[in-house]
């Protein structure tokens, strides 16, 4: 009997290597769990029959040859890529095979998965609540025992925030360490593919499988050192900085603050040197900076959906009318808002004041983070100001939704890696602890995350499913 709610990917590899379980048996166990619970949760957009490896779920913006890939958008309904994304190839090379494609906010724009063109995903901890987003389907699949692990993508917080809301581990890697070849693009100076797992060791295993330079993506680089699978049980010698603004931001719920403060205390007990630090302008200006840079890049990236080469077409009398009707019918509200916002920020007369200025703020944010790393190895804070919120609570107010990522965005603007681990419960819902490091410090984040995970002893199985 395979307990999909508890089985880690590392354990799954062990079972298969020892000949105790076959990969088809593993797939069958997860497909049975999906049949049982995904009618309610809707973590998956589709499953596939490919039982030759350790099962993995991909967010539906990872191109999979011959398997429909929609990025959560009606405009791509029916689109079947004719090639595999590099990360899909690398997962196969590491002995994995695809279990299914997970739901997401349309084009990865959102923090709740309610912006999916195919209906929302629900949180396995409480189905009246969202799983976070935009990688909410991947997070809910892992938390709900519907996949041993999954890939998500993170632009402003889309791996870290849903990992936090679903009580799992999520890594946003250093910009440039994971190939985007074959990934549906949102904001190219920010997008990163990241592992979403039950344990920190699984996270390191999956990161090791996908990271490294890819000749098909010229923004990738070789890792400066191999990925280490963490074993340390203490934090001796680690200098942990607590940025005041990330820990005292308006809107952080008391229950979240409590769990995070306890974890910071635990860092001390595990031997870390803990000190306060400050990122005043990164936090105050990060969100505004992000909501200029990301939409500007999105307006350019989403220009390709024109009803010509793939995806939806709505007929019109001439080409222009066809483009306009296709894009109005195919895009949901959030992509439309961001395309227009981006086009506006880039348009003549506004470029310097909006986009140009935001790019300069980005420099300020990167410098401010670099300065704190002269005194600290990692920075810590809550991942999300709140636990999982109710469906519909923020969907009518775009700005309120944007605030979900206020704590994840600043380090993302600087291209830094961030790991979210579950650190406790508030009102029965998971709280995420964010660890941020300098570029290429994934090994440090894994080591610290692993030691904390062991000390915290968080039970990854949602209470209602136990």
């Amino acid at each position: 009997m395979i307990d999909t709610l508890r089985l880690s990917a590392e354990e799954a590899y062990g079972l298969v290597e020892r000949g105790e379980v076959s990969t088809p048996e593993l797939h069958a166990a997860y497909l049975a769990a999906i049949a049982e619970r995904d009618g309610e949760l809707h973590a998956y957009l589709r499953t596939v029959d490919d039982p030759g490896g350790i099962p993995i779920a991909f967010k539906d913006l990872v191109s999979t040859r011959g398997v429909e890939t929609t990025a959560g958008s009606r405009i791509l309904a029916g689109y079947k890529p004719v090639f595999d994304a590099t990360v899909a190839t690398r997962c196969r090379d590491a002995g994995m095979s695809l279990l299914g494609k997970t739901n997401m906010d349309e084009f990865a724009m959102g923090s709740s998965t309610e912006n999916s063109g195919f209906g929302p995903t629900l949180n396995p901890w409480d189905p009246e609540r969202v799983p976070g987003g935009s990688s909410g389907g991947s997070a809910a699949a892992v938390a709900g025992g519907l996949a041993p692990w999954a890939l998500g993508s993170d632009t402003g917080g889309s791996v870290k925030q849903p990992a936090s809301l679903c009580g799992i581990v999520g890594l946003r890697p250093t910009y440039g360490t994971v190939s985007r070849y074959g990934i549906v693009a949102f904001a190219s100076s920010l997008d990163q593919i990241g592992p979403m797992t039950k344990t920190v060791r699984d996270n390191a295993l999956l990161y090791r499988a996908i990271a490294g330079r890819d000749p098909c993506d010229s923004t990738t680089v070789e890792l400066p050192e191999p990925v280490q699978i963490p074993e340390a049980e203490d934090l001796k010698g680690l200098r942990v900085g607590v940025p005041k603004e990330l820990n005292e931001a308006e809107g952080i719920e008391p229950g979240v603050k409590e769990a995070v403060d306890r974890t910071i205390e635990l860092c001390r007990e595990l031997g870390a040197e803990v000190g306060e630090t400050s990122l005043p302008r990164s936090v105050e200006f990060g969100l505004a900076c992000y909501y200029l840079v990301a939409p500007a890049e999105a307006s350019s990236n989403l220009a390709r959906y024109d009803g010509v080469r793939y995806g939806l077409r709505v007929d019109g009398a001439d080409a222009r009318e066809m483009y306009e009707k296709t894009r109005d019918a195919g895009f949901g509200d959030e992509p439309k808002r961001r395309i227009m916002l981006g086009a506006y920020a880039l348009s003549a007369g506004y470029y310097d004041a909006y986009y140009g200025q935001a790019q300069k703020v980005r420099t300020v944010i990167a410098r401010e983070h670099a300065a704190t790393f002269e005194n600290f190895d990692i920075l810590v804070s809550p991942t999300s100001p709140t636990v999982a919120f109710k469906l519909g609570e923020k969907s009518e107010n775009p700005l309120a939704m944007y605030l979900s990522d206020v704590l994840t965005i600043p380090s993302n603007m600087a291209g830094l890696p961030g790991l979210s681990i579950p650190c406790g419960l508030s009102d029965g819902l998971p709280v995420g602890f964010q660890l941020i490091g300098p570029q290429f410090s994934e090994n440090v984040l894994f080591r610290a995350g692993h030691a904390l995970e062991r000390a915290i002893g968080f039970d990854v199985v949602p209470g209602r499913l136990q």
Partner: protein, 93 residues
Amino acid sequence: MAITRDEVLHVARLARLELTAEEAERFTEQLSAILEAVAKVSELDLSDVEPTAHPLDLVNVWAEDEPRPSLPVDEALANAPDCQDGFFKVPPA
């Protein structure tokens, strides 16, 4: 309002989006609120700061100019809404 209805319609035309009257109304209100929030970046005097377009210092990433197999035409056209004689087909421009 940080952005007028006419400006929203203008930007929508630039972005090839045909908005309904109801959408134009709603987006004007929402985009105004968002623009007011993001205008916060103008509070900083950054005349001496260089812009960041990309978080890594990558310059001139070269590759050997070696031919590799490319997609066969039928695969490249496999997802096209309309095609003819090996070409994507669009309405008259």
